[in-house]
C-alpha cells in the first residue's frame, strides 16, 4: 500500500529523517512513536508533500496502480489519496464546521470556474450533492447539529474530531493522524481510540498515526515503528516493541550496567 524506501531529509547539517524504509499494508493500523525530536512529524511532512525528500522514494499503491508521491505538492498528495490531520490543530477557525468539511471536498467538485460566477445548472446539483455529503459525514460523527458553528467555538475535543472529519472528506485511502490525542483527557482519548478503530472499518482505510499516548498506541496499533534521531530503530507488534531493548534505551536512556 505505502512503500517508503530509504527516505532521507536533511536540514543543513541536521538529518531529521535518515534512511527510513517501511512498508505499510492495506488496511493496517500502524503507529509511529519516538522521543521528542525523533523525526516523526518530519516523516509525516515528507509523506504529505510539505517537505521534499533529500533522497529516497515514497510509493502509494492504489487499485493496482503505483504512484510516486515523494516530492509531490501537498494538494497532489491529497488527490492521490493520502489525507492528514495536524499536531497543532489547523482548522479554518473563522469558518463554520460545514464549510471546513466542504472545503475539504472541493477537489471532487465537478463544476468549473465559470459556473461559480454564472451558476449554470450543474452548479446547484453539485452544491446540493456537496452539502448532502458533508452533512452525512458530520452526521456519522454526531456533529451535524453544530454545522453552522464556527470551528473556533467548538470544544477542544470536538476540534480534534473535526480535523479527522475534514481529512475524511477528501476521500482518502490512507489517513495520517499526527498526535490525535494530544491534550485530551483519558476519557476523550478512550473515545478517540474507538473512533479511530471504527473509521478504519467504516471507510476502509489504512491508518498511520503518530502518538505520545502509549495507552492509545499499544491498544490499537497492529504494528509500531520506532524512530530515534531520525532513524528507524525498531518495528514490530506492540508486544515486541514493549520489550525491545533499543526502544527502552531510546526512551529511558542506556542501562547503567551496559555503560
Amino acid at each position: 500500500m505505502l512503500i517508503i524506501d530509504k527516505l532521507t531529509r536533511s536540514f543543513g547539517g541536521l538529518t531529521a529523517v535518515s534512511n527510513v524504509s517501511m512498508q505499510i499494508n492495506k488496511g493496517e493500523l500502524v503507529g509511529i512513536i519516538g522521543p521528542n525530536g525523533a523525526g516523526k512529524t518530519t516523516l509525516f511532512n515528507l509523506l504529505t508533500g510539505v517537505y521534499e525528500p533529500s533522497s529516497g522514494t515514497i510509493k502509494l499503491e492504489l487499485n493496482g496502480e503505483e504512484v510516486n508521491i515523494g516530492g509531490l505538492k501537498p494538494y497532489n498528495v491529497t488527490k492521490a489519496g493520502l489525507a492528514r490531520t495536524f499536531q497543532n490543530i489547523r482548522l479554518f477557525k473563522d469558518l463554520t464546521v460545514l464549510d471546513n468539511v466542504r472545503i475539504a471536498m472541493h477537489q471532487n467538485v465537478q463544476y468549473k470556474l465559470p459556473s461559480s460566477f454564472f451558476r449554470f445548472n450543474n452548479f446547484y446539483q453539485e452544491e446540493d450533492k456537496l452539502l448532502e455529503e458533508a452533512e452525512q459525514l458530520l452526521d456519522i460523527f454526531k456533529m451535524s447539529h453544530k454545522k453552522n458553528e464556527l470551528a473556533k467555538n467548538l470544544p477542544y475535543g470536538e476540534q480534534r474530531h473535526l480535523e479527522i472529519v475534514r481529512a475524511l472528506a477528501t476521500k482518502p485511502a490512507v489517513l495520517l493522524l499526527d498526535e490525535p490525542a494530544a491534550g485530551m483527557n483519558p476519557f476523550e482519548t478512550e473515545e478517540l481510540t474507538n473512533t479511530i478503530k471504527w473509521i478504519r472499518e467504516e471507510f476502509d482505510l489504512t491508518v498511520l498515526l503518530i502518538e505520545h499516548d502509549m495507552s492509545l498506541v499499544m491498544e490499537i496499533c497492529e504494528r509500531i515503528f520506532v524512530l530515534d534521531y531520525g532513524m528507524l530503530i525498531a518495528s514490530g507488534t506492540p508486544a515486541e516493541i514493549r520489550t525491545n531493548k533499543r526502544v527502552i534505551e531510546a526512551y529511558l536512556g542506556e542501562d547503567v550496567s551496559n555503560a
Partner: protein, 312 residues
C-alpha cells in the same frame, strides 16, 4: 427555480427601485452635476472595493497595487473609445480593458503570489508603479499630459449595470466551492494545501478576477471624466481602495459597498475644505480602527443580518 427565491426577488425589487429613483431624480433635474459625479464615484468605488476585497479580504493576499489594474482598464478603454467613439466602442473598451487587466494580473500574480504578507504588499506596490511609469512614458498614452477629450459614454445606466454585475458575480463566486477554496487560503494556507487545494492557482485566480473588475472600474472612470493622467493612478489611489476594503470589513462584500458609498460621499462633502479633508479622513480611520477594528461589517453580509432563511 432557485434564481427566483424570495430573497432574490426582494434584492431585484430593491435594485430596480434604486435605479428608477436615481433615474427619475436625474430626469426631473433635481440632481446637479455635482451629485452625478458623486454617484459615479460611488459606483466606481464599489467596484474597486468589492474587487480588492476578493483579493485582500477573502483570499487574504494584501495587495497595494489595485490602482495599477484600474489604470490599465482606463487607458485601454479610453484609447479604443477615442478611436471608435460609439457605444459599441465603449463596451468593447470596457471589456478589453478588463481582460487585459486580468491578463496582466495573471502575469504578475504568478511570480509575486509566492510571497506573503508585507513582501507581497511591496511587490504589488512596485507592480502598480511600473504600470504607471509605463503609461507615463508611452507615446500612445501621451505621457504626463495624458489623454484628453475622451468621449463620455459612462452614464447612470452603465454605472449601475456594471456595479450590480460586479457585486453579483463576485458574491456568487465567494459562495461557490471555488470561492471557498480562496477563503481557505486566508484561513490557513498549509491546511488548505493539505485538503487538496492548489493554493497558488487559486491565489492567481482571485488576483485575476480582482484585476478584471478593477479594469472595469478604470474603464468607467475614463469614459466619465473626459481625461486621464498617469498620476491619477498613483500609490495613493491604491491606498484609497484599500481603505474602502478595510473600513467596510475584510471579507464582507456588503461592507465594501457601504464603505464605497461612504468614502465617495465624504470626499464630495469635504471638497470645499481641501486642507481639512485629509485630516478628517485620517481621523475617521483612526476612530474606526480604535473602536471597530474589524471594519463596519466585519465578515458579515447584509443577508446574514436580515435573517433570510438559509437554504437547507
Amino acid at each position: 427555480m432557485r434564481v427566483l427565491s424570495k430573497k432574490n426577488i426582494m434584492i431585484l425589487a430593491g435594485l430596480i427601485l434604486t435605479f428608477a429613483i436615481v433615474y427619475a431624480l436625474r430626469n426631473f433635474g433635481i440632481l446637479t452635476s455635482f451629485h452625478e459625479i458623486t454617484i459615479a464615484m460611488v459606483c466606481i468605488n464599489i467596484i474597486l472595493g468589492v474587487s480588492l476585497n476578493l483579493i485582500t479580504g477573502f483570499t487574504g493576499q494584501l495587495s497595494l497595487g489595485h490602482a495599477g489594474f484600474m489604470a490599465i482598464g482606463a487607458y485601454v478603454c479610453a484609447l479604443i473609445n477615442m478611436e471608435l467613439n460609439s457605444t459599441f466602442g465603449f463596451i468593447l473598451g470596457v471589456l478589453a480593458g478588463a481582460i487585459i487587466a486580468a491578463l496582466v494580473g495573471v502575469l504578475i500574480g504568478i511570480p509575486t503570489l509566492r510571497l506573503k504578507g508585507d513582501y507581497l504588499a511591496i511587490a504589488t506596490l512596485g507592480m502598480a508603479e511600473i504600470i504607471r511609469v509605463i503609461f507615463l512614458n508611452l507615446e500612445i498614452t501621451n505621457g504626463a499630459a495624458g489623454l484628453n477629450g475622451i468621449p463620455r459614454y459612462t452614464n447612470w445606466f452603465w454605472l449601475f449595470f456594471f456595479t450590480v454585475t460586479t457585486v453579483v458575480l463576485i458574491s456568487n463566486f465567494i459562495n461557490s466551492s471555488h470561492g471557498r477554496a480562496c477563503i481557505s487560503i486566508r484561513e490557513d494556507e498549509i491546511a488548505a494545501e493539505s485538503m487538496g487545494i492548489n493554493t497558488t492557482q487559486y491565489k492567481v485566480i482571485a488576483f485575476a478576477i480582482g484585476a478584471f473588475f478593477a479594469g472595469i472600474a478604470g474603464a468607467l472612470y475614463s469614459s466619465y471624466f473626459y481625461f486621464l493622467r498617469p498620476e491619477i493612478f498613483g500609490f495613493l489611489k491604491s491606498i484609497d481602495i484599500l481603505i474602502i476594503v478595510v473600513l467596510g470589513g475584510l471579507g464582507s462584500i456588503t461592507g465594501s459597498v457601504i464603505a464605497g458609498i461612504l468614502i465617495a460621499v465624504l470626499t464630495a462633502a469635504l471638497q470645499s475644505f481641501a486642507a481639512l479633508r485629509m485630516i478628517i479622513y485620517a481621523l475617521l480611520l483612526i476612530i474606526i480602527m480604535l473602536f471597530r477594528p474589524q471594519g463596519i461589517m466585519g465578515t458579515k453580509e447584509i443577508t446574514d443580518l436580515l435573517n433570510f432563511s438559509k437554504r437547507e
